[in-house]
Each structure stands twice: as structure tokens, then as C-alpha cells.
Symmetry: C2
Subunit: 259 residues, 2 copies
């Protein structure tokens, strides 16, 4: 499938490489910044760097918008693609509808459910790809492309994708923040940053194997008020962390009524 990439960030980079490895041809790379589009086009031969969103002459059948969420609408308002071409975005939080105004295009969503770092290789085959389209034919074409790079292809509509994104905020963004608070507390106590890593890894591994609510440990689930109060005292100079501690303790307690 001849493909044009719109965007040159981490998703464009990794998805472009995965598509190319699977035998698809990247014909063009668009990015606002000349250096970025040229750098990415160079690693995806025979891709050309292009500086206009009039992409009708690129010869592609699939156009992949991989730009920050906030920029998708403005790309959609400007981009021109050949009649009947597929144009997809790669966002977990944006609806399919954001692409509906593109003249002559068959809009879709092609959302790889993973976080990417520029220089860290990824095994795309295990990354879920969530698809959405307006008609069965487009969906099937996207399905064919997606299944050349991943074994985990799902059809998920915009509303469910929104619910999934919410679940991901809890599981990833919020857990990352808690790991940051924890790291800061270790530093304040002059303890090694890495001390908790084996415990964190085992905790996550357990939470994957069981329902996390069933393997909950710690003072909250034991309703151990002495320890809880001592922890709150240790946090007395950090009122926001103290609030976080109180609320999450309350939520854990509510899930595990005292015997």
C-alpha cells in the first residue's frame, strides 16, 4: 500500500518503519519543519519530503496523520488527497468525525496503542492497533494493512476508544505520576532511586496476571490506621501528596470493606 506520512514525530517514525518493513512503500513525508520531513524521508526510501498539504500528486492510496492531537483538526481543514484515498489519524483521543470534512476522502482511525520513544526500537507485532472507519470496505482495507504489522488488530469505535483512553490515563499517566512521587520521596530520604524497582516490577507483573483489586496489598487494604496516620504525618509538608494519599487510601478501603 503506497502511503504518505503527515507528521514526523515518534509515531510517524516508528509506524513508517514498521510499514516499510512489512513491504509497504512510503512515498512521501509531510512536516511543517523542513529538517524533520527531510530526516524522516531519508530513512524511509523512496519517500520524498514534501512541504505542502496538497498531497494529490504523491501517488499514495493511504494518508496517515501522525501529528499532535491538537493539530489534527487544522491538518484536516487544509489537506487535499486524491479522490477515494484513505486518510487516517493515529490518535486515541480524537473521534473519527474530526476527519469527516476532507473532500473525496475515506476517513479512518489507525491507532497504535503504545507510547513511542524516537530511538528505542519497538516490536510492532505485539502492539494493539485499533481501527475505525465509516464503511466496511475501508475498514477491511485498513484491517489488511494493520495485520501486516501487528497480530493484535481490533475494531473499536470512537466512543469506546474514548473509554479506552480514559482507562489508559489511569493505568499509565497516573501510575507514572505516582512513580514520580515515589522517586521524589526516596530522594528526599537519601535512599537509592532504584531500591524499589524489583518490587515495582513484581507488583505490575502480579497486577497483569490477576485482577489488581484481588491482589491489593498495603496499609489501606488492611485498614491499618496506625500506619496510615504515620504516613500522613510524614507527608505533612507536602499537602498535595497528603491529599493523594488520603484519597487513594479511601478508594482502596471502599473496595475492601473491613472484615
Amino acid at each position: 500500500m503506497k502511503t504518505t506520512l503527515i507528521g514526523s514525530g515518534n509515531i510517524a517514525w516508528h509506524l513508517g518503519k514498521a510499514l516499510q518493513r512489512a513491504g509497504h512503500e512510503i512515498v512521501a513525508v509531510y512536516s511543517l519543519t523542513a529538517a524533520h520531513r527531510e530526516e524522516l524521508a531519508e530513512v524511509l526510501p523512496p519517500a520524498k519530503a514534501v512541504d505542502s498539504l496538497d498531497l494529490r500528486a504523491t501517488g499514495a492510496e493511504l494518508f496517515v496523520i501522525a501529528v499532535p492531537d491538537a493539530a489534527i483538526a487544522s491538518v484536516a481543514a487544509t489537506v487535499q488527497v486524491p479522490n477515494g484515498a484513505m486518510i487516517v489519524h493515529t490518535s486515541g483521543s480524537q473521534p473519527l468525525a474530526v476527519l469527516q470534512g476532507i473532500a473525496g476522502a475515506r476517513p479512518g482511525v489507525f491507532y497504535p496503542l503504545q507510547t513511542f520513544s524516537k530511538f528505542k526500537p519497538v516490536d510492532f507485532s505485539t502492539i494493539p492497533i485499533l481501527l475505525e472507519a465509516e464503511d466496511e470496505q475501508t475498514l477491511q482495507a485498513l484491517q489488511e494493512v494493520a495485520s501486516t504489522i501487528s497480530k493484535e488488530v481490533h475494531q473499536v469505535d470512537s466512543h469506546k476508544r474514548k473509554q479506552l483512553h480514559l482507562a489508559a490515563v489511569f493505568a499509565c499517566n497516573f501510575t507514572n505520576h505516582l512513580l514520580g512521587i515515589s522517586r521524589q520521596l526516596l530522594q528526599e530520604a537519601a535512599l537509592p532511586d532504584t531500591l524499589l524497582q524489583p518490587l515495582i516490577q513484581e507488583t505490575i507483573a502480579k497486577a497483569m496476571q490477576s485482577h489488581p483489586f484481588q491482589v491489593q496489598t498495603g496499609p489501606a487494604v488492611r485498614h491499618d490506621q496506625n500506619v496510615i496516620e504515620e504516613h500522613l504525618r510524614l507527608l505533612q509538608d507536602q499537602p498535595l501528596y497528603q491529599q493523594v494519599y488520603q484519597l487513594l487510601t479511601q478508594s482502596i478501603k471502599d473496595h475492601s470493606p473491613k472484615q
Copy 2:
């Protein structure tokens, strides 16, 4: 080192096995429940199951209390050990002082910083063991034992261990709870339980390599108010989760002032 285990739960089980593998002799296992002490003694030959906390005749030089935190004080009030014997507890949240009343004993803390499941083998060599004792001689004896089973032995006093425990509550207990909320949200949306697992694993891996605050992603760090408000609407029937969302979003925003 001839050792007696007090307790027959997951820590006693795994620590007993690790000590035995390293060449130490487990001479006795005490537990309130006959079936439990006999089961553990059987897998740790030549250990005998004993039913009294008068352990003066077990011939051990080291006594390891591996019982629930709330039971340590009552064990300490009852146990009898030979003059000059070392007696340690294995708890992250209890001070050394809880063992100070044991007549003739040299108290200590021998805290393996990991969560254990009964039938899951563990590689003890990577598990940090945190030690504390009242005198240098005891500390050194514990250090010698600990370094036969782990490459990560640290001396950490009671106050620092308390701060470490607090950090662990954030990094492990609270993250586990958030993973539980996320799993529940997936189930409510009729999405596969495992869909977020690659993303969670990559998020944790990144948080280990960098300071988590520096690799924070998601709507909060972008101050993306549209997405945040939509998520709060999705949670309108779950007021406690809505509060958790709001507070963690606030905490992330406070760490990443708007540009």
C-alpha cells in the same frame, strides 16, 4: 547459620528456601497452625515443626520473625531465645524497637523488599535486603547472612525504612489500585482486559529509565482541558474515581506549569 523461622507464610517460605539454598540450616519452624508449621518444616529438612515460642532448645543462633506486622509485638512479648541469639523481624513498616524487650536477645531487622506469592519462585539475588541492628557486631553478622542470598544488601535505619515504606505505598499499592480502576473501566466498556498491557509495560519501563516526572504524558501534562473535561463526564456516575482523576490531574499539572 542455624536458623529458626517464626511464621509460615510467604516470606517465611521463600526466605527459608533461600537461606537453605545458601547453605544455612533451618533447625525449626514455629507457627500457630499445626498444618502450616508441619508443611513448611517438611520442605526445609532437617527443620522440626515446633508449637511453643519457648525456642531456647532449638539450637539456632538466628531467629527470623516472619509474621503479619500486627502480630510482631505479641510474638516479641512471648518468645524466648537463648542468651545472645539474634532475633530479627522482616517487616518494612515496624521499627527495630518492637523487638527490644526480648530478654537476652540481640534484636535486628532483616527486611526483604519484595512481595511474595507462595508458589511463584523468586530470584532472591536481586531482592534488596535492608538491615538494621543496635550494634556493629550484630549488623555485621546479619550482613554476612544477607549477602549469601542477595547482592543488594543495605543498612537502613527505622526512620528511613518508614520513608521507604511510604514511597512503596505510592509506587506499588497505589499504582496497583489505579491498574484495578483501569481494568474495571475496560470491562465496563466491554474491551479486552489485556488491551492496555503493552502500553503499561512500556510506561513502567520508561519510568524506570528516566525520572518519571520527565517522561510524563497524557492530557494533564499537556493541560488539555477539553479531554480532561470529557473524561470527567465519562466518570460522572463514579464520583470517587472522578475525584481521583481530578486530584491526580491537578498534581500532574502542578509539576508541569503551562508553557
